[in-house]
Protein backbone atom coordinates (compact mmCIF):
# COMPACT_ATOMS: atom_id res chain seq x y z
CA UNK A 1 0.00 0.00 0.00
CA UNK A 2 2.67 2.45 1.08
CA UNK A 3 4.94 1.80 -1.89
CA UNK A 4 2.04 1.99 -4.30
CA UNK A 5 1.08 5.31 -2.83
CA UNK A 6 4.41 6.97 -3.27
CA UNK A 7 5.12 5.47 -6.66
CA UNK A 8 1.73 6.25 -8.12
CA UNK A 9 2.46 9.89 -8.53
CA UNK A 10 4.82 10.91 -11.21
CA UNK A 11 2.66 11.53 -14.22
CA UNK A 12 3.61 15.13 -14.61
CA UNK A 13 6.75 16.51 -16.15
CA UNK A 14 9.19 18.90 -14.57
CA UNK A 15 10.36 20.58 -17.74
CA UNK A 16 9.17 24.06 -18.57
CA UNK A 17 7.63 24.88 -21.93
CA UNK A 18 10.29 25.17 -24.62
CA UNK A 19 10.98 27.54 -27.47
CA UNK A 20 12.71 26.62 -30.68
CA UNK A 21 15.67 28.35 -32.33
CA UNK A 22 18.00 27.63 -35.22
CA UNK A 23 21.64 27.24 -34.27
CA UNK A 24 24.30 27.80 -36.93
CA UNK A 25 27.59 26.04 -36.23
CA UNK A 26 30.76 25.53 -38.22
CA UNK A 27 31.64 21.99 -39.19
CA UNK A 28 34.29 21.88 -36.47
CA UNK A 29 31.85 23.10 -33.84
CA UNK A 30 29.28 20.58 -34.98
CA UNK A 31 31.88 17.82 -34.80
CA UNK A 32 32.70 18.80 -31.23
CA UNK A 33 29.01 18.89 -30.32
CA UNK A 34 28.41 15.47 -31.86
CA UNK A 35 31.49 14.06 -30.16
CA UNK A 36 30.35 15.36 -26.75
CA UNK A 37 26.84 14.03 -27.32
CA UNK A 38 28.22 10.58 -28.11
CA UNK A 39 30.62 10.57 -25.13
CA UNK A 40 28.00 11.80 -22.71
CA UNK A 41 25.15 9.66 -24.03
CA UNK A 42 23.07 12.81 -24.56
CA UNK A 43 21.41 14.36 -27.56
CA UNK A 44 22.81 17.59 -28.99
CA UNK A 45 20.08 19.78 -27.49
CA UNK A 46 20.85 18.49 -24.00
CA UNK A 47 24.58 19.11 -24.50
CA UNK A 48 23.86 22.73 -25.44
CA UNK A 49 21.51 23.05 -22.46
CA UNK A 50 24.15 21.67 -20.08
CA UNK A 51 26.76 24.02 -21.56
CA UNK A 52 24.46 27.00 -20.97
CA UNK A 53 23.81 25.94 -17.37
CA UNK A 54 27.52 25.55 -16.68
CA UNK A 55 28.42 28.84 -18.34
CA UNK A 56 25.79 30.65 -16.31
CA UNK A 57 26.95 29.00 -13.05
CA UNK A 58 30.61 29.86 -13.66
CA UNK A 59 29.69 33.43 -14.63
CA UNK A 60 27.57 33.78 -11.47
CA UNK A 61 30.34 32.46 -9.21
CA UNK A 62 32.83 34.89 -10.71
CA UNK A 63 30.36 37.76 -10.34
CA UNK A 64 30.10 36.82 -6.64
CA UNK A 65 33.83 37.32 -6.36
CA UNK A 66 34.65 33.61 -6.30
CA UNK A 67 37.45 31.98 -8.29
CA UNK A 68 36.96 28.86 -10.38
CA UNK A 69 39.85 26.40 -10.53
CA UNK A 70 40.60 23.29 -12.52
CA UNK A 71 42.68 20.81 -10.54
CA UNK A 72 44.86 18.05 -11.88
CA UNK A 73 43.72 15.04 -9.88
CA UNK A 74 47.17 13.45 -10.01
CA UNK A 75 49.53 16.38 -9.35
CA UNK A 76 46.98 18.57 -7.52
CA UNK A 77 48.17 21.48 -9.70
CA UNK A 78 45.47 24.11 -10.01
CA UNK A 79 44.79 26.51 -12.85
CA UNK A 80 42.32 29.31 -12.55
CA UNK A 81 39.50 29.56 -15.04
CA UNK A 82 39.15 33.18 -16.09
CA UNK A 83 36.18 34.51 -18.04
CA UNK A 84 36.88 37.73 -19.89
Amino acid sequence: MYLWCIYYIFERKFMAEKRTMTLNLTETEMNVLEDLAAKKDLNKTVVIRQALRLYQMVDQRIREGKKVFIEDSMTKDKSELVLI
Binding site: C5, I6, F14, K40, V46, R53
Partner: protein
Protein backbone atom coordinates in the same frame (compact mmCIF):
# COMPACT_ATOMS: atom_id res chain seq x y z
CA UNK B 1 4.95 26.88 -10.06
CA UNK B 2 3.49 23.46 -10.77
CA UNK B 3 2.24 21.01 -8.20
CA UNK B 4 1.34 17.35 -8.40
CA UNK B 5 -0.38 14.88 -6.17
CA UNK B 6 1.37 12.27 -4.09
CA UNK B 7 0.70 10.31 -0.93
CA UNK B 8 2.58 10.03 2.32
CA UNK B 9 1.98 7.38 4.95
CA UNK B 10 0.79 8.53 8.36
CA UNK B 11 3.02 6.52 10.68
CA UNK B 12 0.50 6.19 13.48
CA UNK B 13 -2.33 4.69 11.44
CA UNK B 14 -0.67 3.56 8.22
CA UNK B 15 -3.20 5.52 6.16
CA UNK B 16 -2.22 7.18 2.89
CA UNK B 17 -2.58 10.95 3.10
CA UNK B 18 -2.80 13.24 0.08
CA UNK B 19 0.21 15.52 -0.28
CA UNK B 20 1.57 17.95 -2.84
CA UNK B 21 4.88 18.03 -4.69
CA UNK B 22 5.86 21.54 -5.83
CA UNK B 23 8.56 22.03 -8.45
CA UNK B 24 10.06 25.02 -6.63
CA UNK B 25 10.47 26.48 -3.15
CA UNK B 26 8.22 29.53 -2.94
CA UNK B 27 8.31 32.49 -0.55
CA UNK B 28 5.32 30.89 1.23
CA UNK B 29 7.31 27.68 1.71
CA UNK B 30 10.22 29.65 3.14
CA UNK B 31 7.80 31.34 5.51
CA UNK B 32 6.53 27.93 6.65
CA UNK B 33 10.13 26.81 7.13
CA UNK B 34 10.83 29.86 9.29
CA UNK B 35 7.61 29.68 11.30
CA UNK B 36 7.21 25.94 11.94
CA UNK B 37 10.39 24.07 11.04
CA UNK B 38 13.19 26.34 12.23
CA UNK B 39 12.00 26.68 15.86
CA UNK B 40 12.07 22.88 16.22
CA UNK B 41 15.55 22.78 14.72
CA UNK B 42 16.69 25.40 17.26
CA UNK B 43 15.06 23.34 20.02
CA UNK B 44 16.89 20.21 18.82
CA UNK B 45 20.18 22.13 18.82
CA UNK B 46 19.61 23.24 22.40
CA UNK B 47 18.77 19.68 23.47
CA UNK B 48 21.99 18.43 21.87
CA UNK B 49 23.91 21.26 23.51
CA UNK B 50 22.48 20.46 26.94
CA UNK B 51 23.20 16.77 26.47
CA UNK B 52 26.82 17.64 25.75
CA UNK B 53 26.81 16.07 22.29
CA UNK B 54 29.84 17.40 20.40
CA UNK B 55 28.88 19.65 17.48
CA UNK B 56 30.58 17.41 14.92
CA UNK B 57 28.10 14.69 15.88
CA UNK B 58 24.99 16.83 15.37
CA UNK B 59 22.90 16.11 12.27
CA UNK B 60 24.60 18.46 9.81
CA UNK B 61 21.38 19.52 8.14
CA UNK B 62 20.43 21.36 11.36
CA UNK B 63 22.64 24.17 10.07
CA UNK B 64 21.13 24.41 6.60
CA UNK B 65 19.55 27.76 5.83
CA UNK B 66 16.90 26.99 3.25
CA UNK B 67 16.00 30.64 2.83
CA UNK B 68 19.52 31.50 1.67
CA UNK B 69 19.86 28.39 -0.48
CA UNK B 70 16.56 29.15 -2.19
CA UNK B 71 17.29 32.79 -2.90
CA UNK B 72 20.80 32.04 -4.16
CA UNK B 73 19.67 29.25 -6.46
CA UNK B 74 16.78 31.11 -8.07
CA UNK B 75 17.61 32.06 -11.61
CA UNK B 76 20.42 29.52 -11.92
CA UNK B 77 19.55 27.01 -14.64
CA UNK B 78 21.60 24.23 -13.02
CA UNK B 79 19.67 24.23 -9.78
CA UNK B 80 16.17 22.84 -9.29
CA UNK B 81 14.16 23.11 -6.11
CA UNK B 82 11.36 20.90 -4.84
CA UNK B 83 8.95 21.05 -1.91
CA UNK B 84 6.54 18.55 -0.39
CA UNK B 85 3.58 19.84 1.60
CA UNK B 86 0.83 17.91 3.34
CA UNK B 87 -2.05 19.11 5.48
CA UNK B 88 -0.83 22.66 4.79
CA UNK B 89 2.50 21.98 6.44
CA UNK B 90 5.94 21.71 4.94
CA UNK B 91 7.17 18.10 4.89
CA UNK B 92 10.37 18.17 2.87
CA UNK B 93 12.72 20.34 0.79
CA UNK B 94 15.27 19.44 -1.87
CA UNK B 95 17.81 21.19 -4.08
CA UNK B 96 19.15 19.31 -7.13
CA UNK B 97 22.12 20.36 -9.25
CA UNK B 98 22.20 19.26 -12.89
CA UNK B 99 25.82 20.18 -13.62
CA UNK B 100 27.82 19.64 -10.44
CA UNK B 101 28.90 16.02 -10.86
CA UNK B 102 29.30 13.36 -13.49
CA UNK B 103 29.17 9.63 -12.91
CA UNK B 104 31.92 7.86 -10.98
CA UNK B 105 30.58 4.30 -11.14
CA UNK B 106 32.42 2.49 -13.96
CA UNK B 107 29.35 1.85 -16.13
CA UNK B 108 28.40 5.54 -16.16
CA UNK B 109 31.75 7.24 -15.63
CA UNK B 110 31.78 10.81 -16.94
CA UNK B 111 28.08 10.80 -17.80
CA UNK B 112 25.78 13.52 -16.53
CA UNK B 113 23.58 12.91 -13.53
CA UNK B 114 21.20 14.77 -11.23
CA UNK B 115 23.11 15.52 -8.04
CA UNK B 116 21.09 15.98 -4.85
CA UNK B 117 22.79 18.95 -3.18
CA UNK B 118 20.50 19.11 -0.17
CA UNK B 119 17.44 17.18 0.96
CA UNK B 120 15.71 17.57 4.31
CA UNK B 121 12.69 16.07 5.97
CA UNK B 122 10.71 18.23 8.39
CA UNK B 123 11.59 17.75 12.08
CA UNK B 124 8.12 16.31 12.88
CA UNK B 125 8.81 13.42 10.47
CA UNK B 126 12.19 12.52 11.89
CA UNK B 127 12.62 9.77 14.48
CA UNK B 128 15.84 11.47 15.65
CA UNK B 129 13.98 14.69 16.44
CA UNK B 130 10.57 13.63 17.67
CA UNK B 131 9.16 10.69 19.62
CA UNK B 132 6.18 10.23 17.32
CA UNK B 133 7.07 11.16 13.73
CA UNK B 134 4.04 12.14 11.64
CA UNK B 135 4.70 10.93 8.08
CA UNK B 136 6.87 8.30 6.47
CA UNK B 137 8.13 8.41 2.91
CA UNK B 138 9.35 11.95 2.33
CA UNK B 139 12.96 10.88 1.67
CA UNK B 140 11.90 8.11 -0.73
CA UNK B 141 9.62 10.48 -2.64
CA UNK B 142 12.45 13.01 -2.98
CA UNK B 143 14.79 10.33 -4.36
CA UNK B 144 12.06 9.37 -6.81
CA UNK B 145 11.65 13.02 -7.82
CA UNK B 146 15.39 13.30 -8.50
CA UNK B 147 15.23 10.15 -10.65
CA UNK B 148 12.31 11.55 -12.65
CA UNK B 149 14.13 14.84 -13.12
CA UNK B 150 17.20 12.93 -14.28
CA UNK B 151 15.07 11.06 -16.82
CA UNK B 152 13.49 14.28 -18.03
CA UNK B 153 16.97 15.66 -18.62
CA UNK B 154 17.95 12.56 -20.63
CA UNK B 155 20.24 11.37 -17.82
CA UNK B 156 18.38 8.02 -17.71
CA UNK B 157 17.65 8.14 -13.99
CA UNK B 158 21.27 8.55 -12.93
CA UNK B 159 21.57 10.42 -9.64
CA UNK B 160 24.34 11.07 -7.12
CA UNK B 161 24.72 12.54 -3.63
CA UNK B 162 26.99 12.86 -0.65
CA UNK B 163 25.26 11.41 2.38
CA UNK B 164 25.29 12.71 5.91
CA UNK B 165 26.36 9.92 8.30
CA UNK B 166 22.84 9.42 9.68
CA UNK B 167 21.41 8.72 6.21
CA UNK B 168 23.90 6.27 4.68
CA UNK B 169 21.82 3.19 5.57
CA UNK B 170 18.78 4.69 3.84
CA UNK B 171 20.64 5.30 0.57
CA UNK B 172 22.42 1.95 0.66
CA UNK B 173 19.60 -0.34 1.77
CA UNK B 174 16.33 1.38 0.94
CA UNK B 175 17.37 3.14 -2.27
CA UNK B 176 19.83 0.45 -3.42
CA UNK B 177 22.47 2.99 -4.47
CA UNK B 178 26.14 2.15 -4.96
CA UNK B 179 28.34 3.43 -2.13
CA UNK B 180 31.73 4.67 -3.32
CA UNK B 181 33.14 5.41 0.13
CA UNK B 182 34.18 8.61 1.84
CA UNK B 183 34.99 11.49 -0.49
CA UNK B 184 38.10 13.33 0.68
CA UNK B 185 37.25 16.26 -1.55
CA UNK B 186 33.83 16.67 0.10
CA UNK B 187 34.23 16.75 3.89
CA UNK B 188 34.83 13.00 3.90
CA UNK B 189 31.12 12.31 3.35
CA UNK B 190 30.17 9.00 1.76
CA UNK B 191 29.38 9.37 -1.94
CA UNK B 192 26.47 7.39 -3.39
CA UNK B 193 25.40 6.94 -6.98
CA UNK B 194 22.37 5.38 -8.62
CA UNK B 195 22.71 3.80 -12.05
CA UNK B 196 20.01 3.53 -14.69
CA UNK B 197 19.27 -0.07 -13.69
CA UNK B 198 19.20 0.76 -9.99
CA UNK B 199 16.78 3.59 -10.75
CA UNK B 200 14.54 1.20 -12.66
CA UNK B 201 14.59 -1.22 -9.73
CA UNK B 202 13.87 1.51 -7.19
CA UNK B 203 10.90 2.75 -9.23
CA UNK B 204 9.42 -0.66 -10.07
Amino acid sequence: MEKSLLYLERRKTGEAVEAELWDDISDEHIQLWQDDWLPLVEEAKQTLERAGVPREKWPQDLHWKWDKKTIWSRGLLSLRRFTITCEEKLQGLMLVNLTKMTGRVAEQKGKDLAYIEFVSTAPWNRPDMTKEPTFRGVGSVMVRVAIELSREESFHGRIGLHSLPQATRFYREICGMTELGPDGSYHGLAYFEMTESQALKFCS
